[in-house]
């Protein structure tokens, strides 16, 4: 029996095993052009280290939450890994470990919610990306309606839901329950906060409308 036959092959694993990167060891460097809106720090926990070991890998430009970055990326590197592990956007989670099955890695790219674990970073050169941190920094009304409607329990999936909901409101300022259910149908929450997202999104929509 093959050694790893008990586990299905994720996209990440496929890319990795395809040998697209010699050695598979180094982390690409990153050059933050402006650092505003980047990853967080804590009293106990240092921020993600920015290593500069890689050479020869292509560089891409990203605009994340309004901050410009120029980043070296490996050909098989997912956008998720790039944003989370190099740039420190830790709101981007990985519940399903790269299968694109859970929505916890959702970010908004050029206005569309995308699964960053299934998106190659190298394909994102020049893209504008918004993460949950950026939505919070922009004081989007969804932040408060999510808190007040208890759209989280353990909270691990919540940033992914937030990004999907924000993208929904960007394209549909007055979503009905069916619209919200359809939009959020691909985001998984094991604590099952699902129902609470309906009033949260609709209340944020009203706030946005009143503010116009």
């Amino acid at each position: 029996m093959p050694k790893e036959s008990f586990s299905a092959v994720s996209r990440r694993k496929f890319l990795k095993d395809a040998g697209l990167m010699a050695g598979g060891a180094s982390m690409a460097g990153v050059a933050p052009v402006t650092a505003e809106g980047s990853g967080q720090t804590s009293a106990n926990v240092a921020t993600v280290p920015l290593e500069t070991a890689a050479t020869g890998s292509p560089r891409i430009k990203l605009m994340v939450n309004g901050a410009e970055y120029e980043v070296q990326v490996d050909p098989e590197e997912s956008l998720r890994d790039c944003l989370r592990e190099k740039l420190g956007y830790l709101s981007i989670k990985d519940m399903c470990l790269g299968y694109g099955a859970c929505g916890s890695c959702t970010v908004i790219m050029d206005g569309r919610p995308i699964l960053s674990c299934l998106t190659l970073a190298i394909e994102c050169d020049g893209k504008k990306i918004q993460t949950a941190e950026g939505i919070a920094l922009a004081r989007h009304p969804l932040i408060e309606t999510y808190i007040m409607n208890h759209c989280m329990q353990c909270g691990y999936c919540t940033p992914g839901f937030l990004c999907t909901s924000k993208a929904l409101l960007d394209r549909n300022p007055d979503p009905a329950e069916a619209d919200i259910r359809e939009a959020l149908g691909g985001n998984l929450c094991r604590c099952a906060t699902y129902i609470r997202h309906i009033p949260a999104v609709q209340q944020a929509a009203r706030t946005l409308k009143e503010g116009m």
Partner: protein, 784 residues
């Protein structure tokens, strides 16, 4: 006097529209989870996982692993570190079917960490290096089915432990769980009718959300650990055993990505930190230990099979229940005894070794509620009585009727003389529209061709016996000069049910300050462990401490406000005049952070001003509590019920869930949004277990075929399409402060088997093999 504490009025407690303390961090993604911990120079460690369900390593060659660029250390099962054999074994309670070892030579399930662990510069290097080991395995026979494992001619799976049977030992005895009350044969003899049937449930898994990890770093005599578990105090104690009592160990428990109880994870939250610390010690670097597959391999409900015999009267009175079960986990019969008047009960549970990962329970057991539900479903169906009638007829505690409980428990102990089940039914039955929707089995075909079915299950709303809780519970409260005004000092692991906000509400009301002025950061290793974390015991064990500390500090504030004193030490002794001279503590009150004279409310000062004054005069306001409830006997008197409406497609066997109503007696509702969140979550999780959650094993290889979120489907948003209605009942019948009763665990377990009754009502066929998948529906209906 009631057995529990009360307040004359509640402000933050029970109020809706209260902002979650953890809300911003969680929604913005700025809250940290263990997987989010990155330290400068950090290394990573990953384990080799057995490809076989039962095999022993004959030889292991890790030279190529050690030589791989970027690999820093390799730890093998035969490492000299195991100089004491006891260090290897972590028997997972007496409940478990499984022997768990710290890095085993013999693997007992496919995917079990075994053989060796590699530590390297990056996770990717770990993955590559793990492939390079040369392992010669001795393949051993395996068994996945607990019933086959206890059959007479079963292959003995652990001959070095049990020579003649697979039933596991507890000490020197074969372990079989028993719950025996009354005389079950007498009960059957007095019954009008006896039914015998069987129900089974398949193994499920948490299947999410944050895969396990642990970060460790040695800083001289200090060892700092970030552990993904719900009991950081236990991790501290374990690490002291292994690394020496001289070490100063600090364990941080950050936000937890959905664990649903700690018991499943005991092995992993003990030996994970140990392994992380071994590598941190050897490499002198911070090490993050990763177990990516943990969310399928660790945790879940166990496989179980029950053979039931139930005797009852024509009026629905249940006289005797006999259950002979074989499970890969715990004994199951206690709840049926705790919450009914059934006088005769005989339950046995055999727990054999099998070749599946350890599974005990998360969000408490579907097992016990499954047993309960199946008994009540059948009696209602066999007698033709409305399920509510059967439920009321058999309501009670420990074989006693509710009228006995009224006279012998509620009245002498000062509980309200209310009937919880009656109140629960009154609210929920009407909200559901039961009388209009209930019909004879298989009697209603909808215009769309689907079969309409409804069902109801009830159960006890339980809080565990506080005497069973052994962990230290400590909490401090500090009133500060600066923001936040009130800071709660205690560490606990966040479980997601908004425990921090609940404690803050209680402390705010008890002291007399605004909720917004109270802060509880769960991660801080303050040296105090609140013991909170587990939803099952959180209220019962944590609230008394919080209340005690709050009342102490309130008394301290009022005493110091009214008593002149000398403070400080020579030569800096200062006179501290009273802030409210000439008054006694009982002359003052505190509301919304203002201390005032009751008779002259205009005589007032803010608590912040007073705290600042006393801080400057060496009299800081700080109080501690280590109290714990000690109750001789606990009766579970609160009840809950769930109603469900389904449509069953007779062509595909698909079950669509249309309407759900929950009615839950929480005793005293402290956090309404938290209660509703638990009800929504429990409903989705429970129904997911009932309809589709199951690990699928290849019988030929013993390997799990759906160990990823693509193939393992748990309920998403639109798996419940219709309305969900929540009813909250406040009877005051709980033993926790204010009469509160736990809610976090029970609903998920109760709802798990409600589908059986609904499918019977829709089709007229019993399906009690969970989950009830479409193929089972079609088979029961004779379609396949």
């Amino acid at each position: 006097m009631p057995v529990y504490t009360t307040l004359s009025s509640y402000t933050a407690i029970g109020k809706t529209g209260v902002r979650r303390k953890d809300g911003y961090e969680k929604v913005s993604g700025t809250g940290l989870y263990t997987r989010d911990v990155y330290l400068p120079g950090m290394l990573y460690a990953k384990m080799y996982l057995s490809p076989y369900p039962h095999a022993r390593i004959k030889s292991l060659d890790t030279k190529a692993v050690e030589a791989y660029p970027g690999v820093k250390s390799v730890f093998r099962y035969d490492d000299g570190w195991f100089k004491d054999a006891r260090w290897r074994n972590f028997e997972l309670w007496v409940f478990s079917h499984q022997i768990e070892q710290l890095l085993a030579q013999e693997a007992n399930w496919a995917g079990e960490p075994a053989g060796f662990v590699v530590c390297a510069d990056t996770p990717r290097i770990c993955d590559e290096a793990l492939k390079l080991a040369k392992i010669e395995w001795e393949i051993l026979p395996f068994e996945l089915d607990p019933e086959k494992a206890v059959a007479p001619n079963a292959v003995i799976l652990q001959p070095h432990v049990n020579a003649g049977t697979n039933v596991r030992h507890s000490g020197s005895q074969l372990f079989e769980g028993y719950e025996v009350h009354g005389d079950v044969e007498k009960g059957f003899a007095e019954s009008d009718k006896i039914v015998e049937f069987r129900w089974t449930e398949d193994e499920t898994t948490v299947a999410g959300v944050e895969a396990l990890s642990c970060v460790a770093v040695f800083r001289g005599e200090y060892l700092e650990v970030w552990a993904h578990n719900q009991i950081p105090m236990r991790t501290t104690n374990i690490l002291k055993q292994y690394f020496g009592n001289h070490l100063h160990i600090h364990v941080h428990a950050l936000y937890q990505g959905a664990q649903f109880g700690h018991e499943n994870w005991i092995v992993y939250f003990t030996w994970f930190p140990i392994m992380a610390c071994i590598f941190a010690q050897r490499t002198k670097k911070p090490v993050k230990f990763l177990y990516d597959q943990s969310y399928f391999h660790a945790g879940g409900y166990e496989h179980g099979a029950h053979n039931l015999k139930v005797g009852f009267k024509k009026d629905g009175t249940i006289l005797a229940v006999q259950d002979r079960s074989v499970r890969a986990g715990a004994e199951v019969h206690g709840k049926l005894w705790e919450g009914t008047s059934i006088p005769h009960l005989f339950g046995t549970t055999q727990i054999p070794y099998i070749n599946r990962p350890a599974a005990i329970n998360y969000r408490h057991g579907m097992r016990s509620c499954g047993l309960w539900n199946n008994v009540f479903f059948r009696v209602a169906a066999e007698t033709g009585l409305d399920p509510h009638v059967v439920a009321m007829k058999n309501d009670g505690c420990r074989g006693h009727s509710i009228s006995w409980v009224d006279e012998n428990v509620k009245k002498p102990k000062g509980f309200p003389m209310v009937n919880s089940l009656e109140a629960v039914f009154k609210a929920g039955k009407d909200a559901f529209g039961w009388d209009e929707k209930y019909h004879a089995p298989g009697a209603r075909v909808l215009p769309n061709g689907k079969l309409h079915g409804v069902s109801m299950v009830h159960s006890i709303a339980w809080s565990p016996d506080p005497n069973n809780y052994f962990r230290t519970n400590q909490m401090g409260i500090n009133i500060q000069r600066q923001t936040p005004l009130v800071r709660i000092l205690a560490r606990h692991a966040d479980g997601g049910w908004n425990h921090e906000s609940t404690i803050c509400r209680v402390v705010a009301d008890e002291i007399g300050v605004k909720y917004e002025d109270v802060e509880f950061r769960p991660f801080d290793d303050t040296g105090l462990d609140s013991g909170a974390g587990e939803g099952s015991g959180g209220l019962v064990r944590t609230l008394p401490m919080a209340i005690d500390a709050a009342r102490k500090i309130r008394a301290l504030v009022l005493a110091q406000c009214t008593t002149p004193a000398k403070s400080g030490t020579e030569p800096k002794v200062v006179d501290v005049p009273a802030q409210f001279p000439g008054l006694k503590p009982e002359d003052l009150d505190i509301k919304e952070g203002i201390i005032f004279e009751k008779a002259r409310p205009e005589n007032r000062k803010t608590l912040q001003q007073v705290a600042d004054y006393h801080w400057q005069n060496y009299q800081p306001f700080i109080a501690f509590s280590g109290s714990q409830m000690h109750l001789e006997e606990v009766y579970d008197m609160g009840r809950q019920a769930t109603w469900i409406e389904v449509e069953v497609d007779p062509e595909t066997g698909e079950i669509e869930i249309k309407t759900v109503v929950n009615s839950n007696d929480v005793g005293k509702c402290i956090d309404p949004e938290g209660v509703n969140g638990q009800q929504y979550g429990g409903t989705y999780m429970g129904l997911s277990h009932g309809r589709q959650d199951a690990k699928v094993y290849d019988p030929a290889t013993g390997i799990v075929l759906n160990d990823n979120l693509v193939d393992y489907k748990w309920f998403s948003f639109n798996d419940i399409t219709g309305p969900m209605h929540q009813c909250i009942i406040e009877s005051g019948l709980g033993y926790a402060p204010y009469g509160a009763i736990g809610i976090g665990e029970s609903l998920g377990a109760v709802a798990a088997t409600v589908l059986a009754g609904a499918v019977y009502n829709a089709t007229g066929k019993w399906i009690t093999d969970f989950p009830i998948t479409p193929d089972k529906v079609l088979k029961a209906m004779g379609k396949i």
